[in-house]
């Protein structure tokens, strides 16, 4: 780094110890091996139990209850696909999926473009680097509930800051989260504001790992700045971009806090999301079968994205 005046580059947190493990020594007597095994499992036990209870069992249970009429405390009844047909016929079902997909798409467009451009610009700045990194990450550290309440206040039709800003600029005011056609976009803005810090930092790290010679070579070939972005920056960060996009899809398809806190799913179901609908089925309608049917649908879709993500990240390493 050129400006070494400030200690801006801390040592990487995850350090690699110098040596790789050697293949283990085999050929021990059976009793010794049994003792080793029981000790190994003693170490594993606590973690394993928690995974079994709170990850594996609920995953199986979601699928089972999706085909049952389930009331806590009562004997569950098998109902075939009745839960699925009931959920399908709910007018909120289509709205929830439409909203979730629109939300994901908008969050992807805004949530990809804004952080990438910010990271590009920040990567070129030679001063106050630490300041920018801290400030951009600050909203991530504010509890999501607080961000949601804060923006609910900004969007307030009376004394909200959002409309004040528009008035100040002599622009027409908006209904923001209170208008059926602007509510979803308003929520995307909140989610982007609250989360882009992490994305910016990751892009920045990726940009810094691009070898400088590539830019020099491109410049010698007469490439202007746009061409350098197009032919050097983007191809070099392609992997990180794709990875973050997938992660973002997975995260935004599970959006809950913003609609729950800011709009309560309204107006006119404009911001009901799938996870919100799952919550409603379970805790408002006491319909756990319907909630699990919805969960299974969401699960299948998200698992496809997760699988793609895992394949991508694992292709980056060799284990």
């Amino acid at each position: 780094m050129k400006t070494a005046s400030k200690p801006t580059a801390p040592p990487p947190t995850v350090v690699r110890p110098p040596q790789a493990p050697r293949p283990g020594s085999a050929g021990r007597p059976l009793r010794r091996r049994l003792a080793d095994q029981s000790r190994a499992y003693a170490f594993l036990l606590g973690g394993l139990l928690c995974f079994a209870l709170f990850s594996w069992y609920p995953a199986i249970r979601a699928v089972v209850i999706a085909f049952q009429k389930y009331t806590p405390g009562a004997e569950p009844e098998w109902v075939g696909t009745a839960n699925f047909t009931r959920v399908f016929q709910d007018p909120e079902f289509a709205a929830a999926w439409r909203n979730t997909l629109t939300f994901t798409l908008l969050a992807l467009l805004i949530g990809f473009a804004v952080p990438f451009v910010l990271a590009l610009v920040l990567g070129e700045l030679r001063h106050a680097k630490a300041f920018f990194r801290v400030v951009v990450y600050l909203p991530v550290m504010i509890p999501p509930v607080v961000s949601a309440l804060l923006w609910k206040w900004f969007y307030d039709p009376g004394a909200g800051l959002a409309n004040e800003a528009l008035r100040f600029l002599h622009l027409p005011t908006s209904n923001w989260s209170n208008g059926a056609d602007t509510a979803l976009v308003s929520l995307v803005l909140v989610a982007t504001w609250a989360n882009l810090g992490g994305t910016v930092l990751i892009y920045l790290a990726a940009l810094q790992s691009i070898p400088g010679e590539l830019y020099e070579a491109a410049e010698l070939d007469g490439a202007n700045i746009w061409q350098r972005i197009r032919h050097v920056t983007i191809p070099q960060t392609r992997f990180v971009i794709l990875m973050l996009m997938l992660l973002q899809i997975i995260a935004t398809m599970q959006v809950f806090t913003e609609p729950f806190v800011i709009t309560g799913g309204g107006p006119e179901n404009a911001t009901v999301t799938v996870l919100y609908l799952i919550y409603k089925y379970a805790f408002l309608y006491n319909d756990f079968g319907g909630a699990c049917a919805l969960s299974v649908m969401l699960l299948v879709l998200l698992s496809a994205f997760s699988a793609a993500y895992l394949r991508l990240t694992r292709s980056g390493e060799d284990v």
Binding site: C50, I65, L161, E164, L204, Y215, E216
Partner: protein
């Protein structure tokens, strides 16, 4: 370190026009960041100090006419913030400690003790990474409400946060991958010297693993502190609710300035932790990315 070449060449930046442009962009970014990220925080902190009448006034005042601290003191008493903050601290600390104990032990076993079916177990743990947690909250809730075999409910109990937090495949995998890279000779030397497994873990492995333990600790604490949906389901009892749930539940019927003050107070712990450990946190995020 030598000078790094980025998108714009140092030569262009050295020219007068380049210099002018650079400072224009720099000023623009400073303004943008201040407006977009710092101003909302300022607005929240000062909004809590306005009078109830002033906070709803249009056009709004940039600086409170008179600085009232009553918003903060009212929030502290009326919303019983000490209770909810304490609940959050208990929930986050317990989840953190249990995760450190159980995830570290399990990761150590999977990495160094070669348990039978270790590959299968690891596969099962990694598979949970594919299943996004939020999609499973309802069956998880039903499990916590009535644990299989022992038929106990963990609802309204910090254990309902602590135990599910242990099932964190991401942190476990982070630890396992770190342990994989520890040189085996050192551990074997300890064994030859007569140290048991636990002793080796405690006095050899853990001291060597400080960086990764730090990262896992921060992830664990932040995750519980920021979570909303899961504690909303687990704690129907108001006295047990963490601050995030209590804020939303109480936001309907509380004066605006008091609510804003409570929001500020709820943000302080994590923001303070971030400012203290910012260098490690930012380095951790950046490092995690380039390793893919």
């Amino acid at each position: 370190m030598s000078s790094t070449r980025t998108l714009v060449s140092p030569l262009t930046l050295a020219r007068p026009r380049g210099k002018a442009l650079y400072w224009a962009v720099f000023t623009g970014v400073v303004l943008l960041f201040t407006l977009a990220f710092l101003f909302p925080v300022y607005w929240m902190t000062t909004g809590a100090m306005k009078s109830p009448d002033e906070v709803t006034r249009t056009p709004p005042t940039l600086v409170p006419e008179r600085w009232h601290l009553s918003g903060y003191t009212d929030a502290w008493d009326l919303m019983r913030l000490p209770t909810h903050l304490w609940n959050t601290v208990v929930q986050a600390t317990g989840a953190w400690i249990l995760q450190l104990v159980f995830c570290t032990a399990a990761a150590y076993a999977l990495s160094k003790l070669r348990p039978a079916f270790g590959k299968v177990v690891l596969g099962g743990i990694l598979a949970t990474l594919m299943v996004p947690a939020q999609a499973l909250v309802v069956p998880k809730y039903l499990t916590v409400a009535d644990l299989p075999l022992i038929h106990t409910s963990l609802l309204n109990d910090p254990l309902g946060i602590w135990l599910p937090a242990v099932a964190n495949a991401f942190n476990l995998y982070l630890l396992k991958r770190f342990f994989d890279q520890l040189p085996r000779d050192v551990l074997e030397a300890a064994e030859i010297d007569g140290a048991g497994r636990l002793r080796t873990l405690w006095s050899i492995v853990l001291p060597m693993s400080r960086p990764v333990l730090g990262v896992v600790s921060i992830f664990a604490l932040v995750a519980v502190w920021q979570d909303f949906l899961w504690p909303l389901m687990v704690f129907s009892d108001t006295d047990e609710q963490p601050i995030s749930v209590a804020l939303v539940q109480l936001s309907q019927n509380i004066p605006l300035t008091v609510l804003i003050a409570a929001m500020v107070i709820a943000s302080i712990p994590m923001v303070a932790m971030f400012l203290v450990f910012q260098r490690h946190i930012i380095a951790g995020i950046s490092a995690g990315s380039t390793k893919g």
